[in-house]
Amino acid sequence: MFDICADPKSLEGLAWALCYLTTGKHLLFYGSFFVVLALMLIVAPIALAFGFGGAIAARSAFLPLRLFGKAYTAMVRGVPDIIFFLFVPVAMDQGLEYLRHLWLCPPSDAPLWSKGEFAVCAAAKLPLSSAPQIWHEIYGFFLAVIAFSVVFGAFAANVLYGAMNAVPRAQLETAEAYGMTTAQVRRRILIPQMWTYALPGLSNLWMILIKATPLLFLLGVEDIVYWARELGATKSALYDYPHGDWRVWYVLALLVYYLGMTKISERVLDRVTSRLSKGQATMAGEAQRKAAA
């Protein structure tokens, strides 16, 4: 990256550190921090939408929809989330490939799971084996986003379902007394009012989402854990920058990164909480009213 780095073997001290920390692989490592941030920022709204749908479904008057919603919210309670992280991407991948198999492949009687592979014809593979590497990576990231969204959607559905039940009955009854229909009550009172009750749970969920991102590594995405292990491993004299086993330091850097993320998130969420408690008939809202008076 810099001119002085042309001959790494002759470098010493600070210059060595500067050149070492700006090698191509290190730049990829720094880039993977943005992959993690991107994952969180993409997953959060999708998971919220999934959760919202799940919570509304669990309150539905229509039985099959209600059962679906209840099952979705219950799903993450008894089963470790890592099982879903391993299961959902493979299941999604095979589901999509199976649909393409029905559409694109010549009909065959061969069993789908045979000889240690998912046997669809080459035309049905996702992405096509001839596709450039970048598409394989994007597809892997896409599957990871789906897996995270499904799991965190279920967590969010739990939180939102609880929050909707926590909105004081009296507020909803007042709305009904004004002659609003069920849909109107939901849109005008229930949903705006539930956020203050949902916020503690949702902010907790955001913290959990931050802490779940290293699991990307398990899904084969080249994330920060992958690069930390790759870069930290012992480099023999064959490499430009030989060094011993530095994985401890790389992983320690990740730990500090995550602690920083947690700290910043705590600050921001505290602000949002106090904003949303304004004027609410809750303890936090009451405390604010008294402090102002």
């Binding site: 089963v79 099982i83 799971w113 931050i210 802490k211 994985r247 947690t262």
Partner: protein, 277 residues
């Protein structure tokens, strides 16, 4: 089907501990194979969960008291410990612990003429258990601290009026009330600790001679058969059983903790997955 199911169970029921058949099945995977091996792996999840929870309980009580202490030299370290273990991913904690334990001198440490071997610390049964113990201590300490802060003022005044001080006041008044208040949240923590045991063998700690936990074997089958729709639901089924057992056990303790209260006002155990790592 090549073997009878009883034969498979005899061969593989304790495979995760190193007993029975050495070689994992290579082909002709039957449902019996998958149920037996994944169930065999569950032994490790139960081992990690139970021991970490047991030792973590006492450490968490001490940490919660330290965090509630007015003395800064006690409070600050406890706060820092809780922040580090709650603020960072368990997955990273496993990696870091493994890398640190690997750095220990292979030959052992000599301490006052006594040679302490160190090679066992990098194996999962010890290293991962240590991390899980520290982790659950931090999470439970936060729960216990919250409950300790919520002990009604009247209870403490009553204890003072009876002349209870120090250990007696803690043992008879503070601790039982803290436990009672903390129990629903602590039940949650226990459930998610058992769930967290599944990442042990994906986080640096090697599965020596392919002795792994339930999810390790589930992934083994999923990778071999390329069919995720059988092994993962089996693992999920086992974990639902574990969760239900835990709810049952913790519910019994909850009833005992609240036995002096009239039925209506007893807190019910509800699983709220807000408190997970």
């Amino acid at each position: 089907m090549t073997d009878s199911c009883t034969q498979i169970i005899a061969d593989y029921a304790f495979r995760s501990l190193g007993y029975g058949e050495r070689v994992l099945p290579r082909s002709d995977f039957t449902l019996c194979h998958e149920f037996t091996l994944i169930g065999s792996g569950l032994i490790w999840n139960v081992y990690f969960g139970t021991l970490a929870l047991f030792f973590g309980f006492f450490a968490a009580t001490a940490l919660a008291l330290a965090k509630a202490s007015p003395r800064a030299w006690l409070r600050r370290p406890a706060e820092a410990f809780i922040f580090v273990f709650r603020g960072s991913p368990l997955f990273i904690q496993f990696f870091l612990a493994y890398e640190i334990l690997v750095q220990l001198p292979k030959a052992g440490i000599t301490l006052g003429g006594l040679l302490i071997p160190t090679d066992w610390t990098t194996s999962a049964w010890a290293g991962a258990l240590l991390v899980l113990f520290l982790n659950t201590s931090a999470y439970s300490a936060e729960i216990f601290h919250g409950a300790l802060m919520a002990v009604p003022k009247g209870d403490i005044e009553a204890a003072d009026a009876y002349g209870l001080t120090g250990w007696q006041k803690f043992r008879r008044i503070l601790w039982p009330t803290t436990l009672r208040l903390a129990w629903p949240a602590y039940t949650n923590e226990a459930i998610f600790l058992f769930h967290a045991t599944t990442i042990v063998f994906f986080s640096g700690f090697p599965a020596y001679q392919q002795r792994g936990d339930a999810l390790y074997y589930a992934k083994f089958f999923a990778d071999k058969t390329f069919n995720p729709f059988i092994p993962y639901p089996i693992a999920a089924f086992y974990f639902i059983l574990v969760t239900l057992t835990l709810i049952g056990l913790f519910g019994m303790i909850n009833r005992r903790l609240n036995r002096h209260l009239p039925g209506q006002s007893r807190p019910k155990l509800r699983i709220r997955p807000q408190i997970i790592r």
